[in-house]
């Protein structure tokens, strides 16, 4: 008999732990339409919307909440959005009808729901490059350099010697670079996203403390051919190259995602609906910042 309460406790604990919370709307029982003997409520409609597009829309609302904190809507933004609307109206017939067919009441609502958030998104991405300076440096190892692509190591060694003698990199490139070289001694931004340079060259440029000629020949295979490279570091000081880093990386999908994750962490993003949680867990576990274990297990 004494064992019975323990068993009850265990069974109750297991049963209560079977499902998470699901959030629903206030007037979920309100009838929206009656078709013969079938009655549909607002709750029925909400459930379908949540399953089909709920996760994307939730993330959109979360982004807008982050914009509110990070990027205030300025007069310039409003003017720019208005300018876009004016352009659409000039170049598109029935613009108002078209946005109404998309569900927006008028151009003002379209401006507030679509155009201004889009401008805020760009502004937030730009801000991210300042706010997350350390993360960006650590992940993307950005540096600005003048690189010369040579046919082989022997030519690259000659180019290196000329560089060390103080010859201008572009002049050296004219003499030693391979035909149709991508790297011809001009200033270029190098990051871990630069796929046609060796990791060793990218790391060396990022770690080197002083600007100048890197005393090493690097090799990398590209489309089945191995090329040799020599480089002159222009700068890896983040504040000097930040604008180039932003221009080069801002449209990269990984960076856009990392930007969102950065602010989700900053604002302690939490999900309180099991359906949305499960959907994010399956498709974007990195957004569940309170559960870093979920995205780590995918690596």
């Amino acid at each position: 008999m004494k064992k019975t309460p323990i068993l009850f406790v265990c069974a109750a604990m297991m049963l209560t732990g079977c499902s998470g919370a699901t959030a629903t709307i206030k007037d979920k029982d309100e009838t929206i339409m009656t078709i013969g003997d079938t009655k549909y409520t607002k709750g029925d409609e909400y459930d379908l919307l949540k399953i089909s597009t709920g996760t994307d829309l939730t993330m959109e609302l979360v982004k807008q909440a982050i914009y509110k904190q990070e990027v205030k809507v300025t007069k310039e933004m409003k003017e720019k959005a208005q300018e876009q609307v004016n352009n659409y109206k000039e170049n598109m017939e029935n613009f108002d009808e078209q946005i109404q067919s998309l569900g927006y009441k008028n151009s003002t609502q379209y401006m507030n729901k679509v155009l201004i958030p889009s401008l805020q998104a760009s502004e937030l991405t730009e801000k991210y490059f300042t706010d997350a300076k350390k993360d960006i440096q650590k992940t993307y190892k950005p540096s600005k350099a003048r690189i010369i692509q040579c046919e082989n190591k022997a030519t690259a060694k000659k180019a290196l010697k000329a560089l060390k003698n103080g010859t201008d990199p572009e002049e050296v490139a004219q003499q030693y670079m391979v035909d149709s070289a991508k790297y011809s001694g001009k200033e270029t931004l190098v990051t871990t996203k630069t796929t046609d340079l060796s990791t060793r060259l990218i790391n060396t440029l990022s770690k080197t403390k002083k600007a100048g000629v890197i005393d090493e020949v690097f090799t990398n295979e590209s489309s089945g051919t191995t090329y040799a490279y020599v480089a002159v570091l222009v700068s890896n000081t983040y504040k000097d190259i930040k604008d180039d880093v932003y221009t080069t990386l801002s449209s990269d999908d990984d960076v856009t995602k990392a930007c969102l994750v950065y602010y989700l962490k900053k604002y302690n993003f939490e999900v309180h609906d099991q359906d949305v949680f499960n959907n994010l867990k399956a498709n974007n576990p990195e957004y569940l910042v309170s559960r870093p274990d979920l995205s780590e297990s995918d690596d």
Partner: protein, 341 residues
């Protein structure tokens, strides 16, 4: 106490292991469960510092996109109440369900979640309702078929403008259409000679190199002028040039040789028009042909699907209790089917 533990150490050990196992089981079951949160009497779906996204916020944000959801809910209810569930329809629904599951599982391991999202767009709230979706789909086909049969003369005009017909083909692969080898020339000549004496079906059966149709006496099924465009909804496998030739022929006529070059090589085709009577095609014994005809009729008039649904809806008591819902429904119907409500 020490004596009890010492005398029963094995039982205690087993108890500790069991408790540990239960503890881990409870942790593992619950670790992905989210906690509920409310703010101002509204249930919260997600939150960040200083801001909560509530279920009501999400519902309001969905407004621009929910016209199709409301329409599908309406459509499902009308169809389900208008067409009686028969054994045959149930069987067709089960076959459709198996096909969907089989296709989905071959594309993704997580197919249940993908199907759940898709089903929600069509008005079904969970994966468990897949069979309901299939049953409504086959009922919808039945409903469309009934309506078109009854109103055939009204709806056939737009479809007949697309020159519907059934065709048979003979295919002969060649290495170079302009310089046939001796064997190819001989085979081509044999086909031409055979066509003078025998039926197209017999010649196709004997000579055609098309693996899909040769064993069906060359019968390639339904085509219409839409089958010639690459972006069409046509399910025909007959090459566009062959369809174009067929469209220019009358019933019982056979084309000249048509050269078709594709990524798989060059082939010569002959096409024979078997049937051009639209009513006979719509009522064809072959399910494939009659189904293709049904969808071609529906596609030939963008408002027909809604017109059919509306004719059945009129027999039911329908009430929109919410003005916004009616507005969204009307707007969706107008945009999609161009109809006025």
């Amino acid at each position: 106490m020490t004596d009890i533990l010492r005398n029963n150490w094995f039982v205690v050990l087993i108890a500790i292991i069991i408790i540990g196992f239960i503890g881990y089981f409870i942790y593992d079951t619950n670790k992905d469960n989210v906690s509920a949160k409310t703010t101002n009497n509204e249930q919260v779906i997600a939150s960040i510092n200083k801001d909560d996204i509530t279920a009501d916020d999400l519902y309001d944000e969905s407004t621009p996109y929910d016209g199709s959801t409301i329409y599908n809910m309406y459509k499902n209810a009308v169809i389900d109440q208008s067409i009686k569930t028969t054994k045959d329809l149930k069987k067709q629904a089960s076959t459709l369900e198996s096909n969907i599951k089989s296709n989905a599982s071959s594309q993704s391991d997580d197919y249940e979640s993908t199907l759940t999202t898709e089903l929600a767009k069509y008005g079904y709230a969970s994966y468990e309702e897949l069979n309901d979706y299939c049953l409504t789909s086959v009922k919808e086909k039945e409903m469309n078929k009934k309506y078109i049969t009854k109103h055939f003369d009204e709806v056939k005009k737009a479809w007949e403008d697309k020159s519907p017909r059934t065709v048979s083909i003979i295919k002969m692969d060649v290495s170079d259409a302009d310089n046939l080898t001796e064997t190819e020339t001989k085979k081509k000549s044999n086909i031409d000679k055979a066509l003078e004496k025998e039926s197209f079906a017999d010649v196709a059966k004997a000579f055609s190199e098309d693996s899909n149709t040769a064993n069906k006496n060359g019968f390639a099924g339904y085509v219409d002028s839409n089958s010639t465009s690459s972006g069409s909804n046509s399910t025909s496998t007959v090459p566009a040039d062959v369809v174009t030739a067929a469209i220019g022929l009358k019933k019982g006529e056979t084309s000249d040789w048509i050269t078709v070059t594709s990524s798989s090589g060059t082939s010569l085709y002959k096409v024979y028009v078997k049937e051009t009577n639209s009513k006979k095609i719509f009522n064809a014994k072959s399910d494939t042909v009659s189904n293709q005809a049904l969808y071609a009729i529906l596609n030939s008039d963008s408002s027909l699907s809604y017109k059919i649904l509306d004719s059945y809806a009129k027999k039911l008591d329908i009430k929109f209790n919410d003005k916004d819902t009616k507005k969204k429904f009307d707007s969706y119907v107008k945009t999609t089917y161009g109809g006025d409500q």
